[in-house]
Amino acid sequence: MLAIDAAAYRSPWRRHHPAAKALLAGGLLGCALTLPPWPGAVVTALVTAAVAVCWARIPVRTLVRAARTPLGFALTGSPAFLITVGADGIAWADDGPRRAGEVLARCTAAVLCQLLFAGTTPLADTLPRLVRIGVPPALVEVAALIYRMLFVVLDTARRIRDAQAGRLGTRSLRATWRSLGGLGSAVFVRSFDRARRLEAGLAGRGHAGALTVLVEPIPLRTPFLLAAPMPAALAAGLALAVERLP
């Protein structure tokens, strides 16, 4: 399983309705994007991290590992803010470090909000409920199918890669390229073969077109729903308080 999804299934918040968690994480995300980067984004990042680790009990290691890649992208792009291109050529931008810092702070806060939702809500709980907010059922069904097949295909890819490595398939650059081509084509062939066999199995059972599955009911609990906007209100209040400090 993927680390974020595994954390979501283990989360103590698993029993809370996805809408309530979306309200909580969405409120914080709103703060991260709309409040001034200093102190708004910094305060939002701290509040979100505290909520994720102390309240939602997402393991710190999972949070850090998941945030590494998106923040790495933001960091790679940040040197562009440090320079300016003018008629005289390239020069250091006067407000470059400030702009880079603002974007990085906003990005960190927003990524943590995204991980707070993703690390507490399995996709299997979210997808069937998307129909209620107007997403076409056919689209949701295909997305749910992709989600179900994803782990089998990922596992197949992992097994093929291990087998290739065991046969010195990554010994040289040339062998690595050949192995990658083989891996991609084998995954394609196997995933299509699996889909065809599923199709035959369903046809044998009188498949009429719709793949209805049992959606586990999750009650919308009032105390959690009332508490959901609190972190965002706290972040906004703290940001305003820090801004007014002399």
């Binding site: 933001a74 974007v103 993703a118 295909v142």
Partner: protein, 225 residues
């Protein structure tokens, strides 16, 4: 080339989502029609989406010394056509955002526009224009152009969001384009080569699927056989 969550200002995130919406609606309508005509295709579409996700998770060696991930948009467009890729790419990007934290939810519209719309359409156009030179050169052109277009559109998106203080959007475009060119041009070449290897193997192991998807013509396989 995923734009991370929170990287774009809210107004830009909304604008790119609005720009991506008509293509996504067109893709969803096409998909809906296809599923009504042949309901059994939904499993193949599920497999295709899962394949796209796995393809974008493969690590490929980059000329700059590091390793990178292919976008998979070129191959996806060649195999499943751009309208289907708009939907499959959107679902893949949503899953990448929620399962891998690659990309974001507010930046989903911008990422969909570059990776699931602009990349596949440009790649598919390159593939079609090169098809008369043979399958493999066309596949290389499709994957290379799709990857490069995705990178160019992402650079434009970032330049529009963060214009240079002195030279405006044009200067910012030169800056972002210059920084990402170091990794993205070698990556586009790498993705083109990987896609050629992959399609060459598919031609021998899954010719029937390629004929069904319209990539190979039946006469060609008969001749090969």
């Amino acid at each position: 080339m995923h734009i991370a969550e929170g990287h774009l200002p809210l107004s830009h995130a909304v604008a790119w989502s609005v720009a991506a919406a008509p293509f996504l609606v067109h893709g969803a309508v096409t998909l809906n029609r296809r599923l009504k005509d042949s309901p059994e295709d939904r499993l193949l579409l599920g497999a295709s989406g899962a394949f796209c996700f796995v393809l974008s998770a493969l690590k490929i060696p980059s000329v700059t010394g590091s390793s990178s991930h292919p976008t998979g948009t070129g191959l996806g467009a060649v195999l499943f056509r751009p309208p289907a890729m708009a939907v499959l790419g959107t679902v893949t990007l949503l899953f990448q955002a929620l399962l891998l934290a690659h990309g974001g939810l507010t930046t989903l519209g911008a990422n969909v526009f570059s990776m699931a719309i602009a990349g596949p359409w440009a790649g598919f156009a390159a593939y079609l224009s090169m098809r008369r030179f043979g399958l493999l050169p066309a596949v290389f052109a499709g994957a290379f152009v799709a990857d490069l277009t995705t990178y160019c559109v992402t650079s434009v998106q970032l330049a529009l969001a963060f214009p240079d203080a002195e030279s405006g959007v044009a200067g910012a475009l030169a800056k972002f384009g210059g920084i990402f060119a170091v990794t993205q041009i070698p990556l586009a070449v790498s993705e083109g080569l990987l896609t050629v290897l992959l399609v060459r193997l598919l031609r021998t192991s899954a010719a029937a699927d390629l004929i069904r998807l319209g990539v190979l013509r039946p006469a060609r396989t008969e001749a090969a056989a």
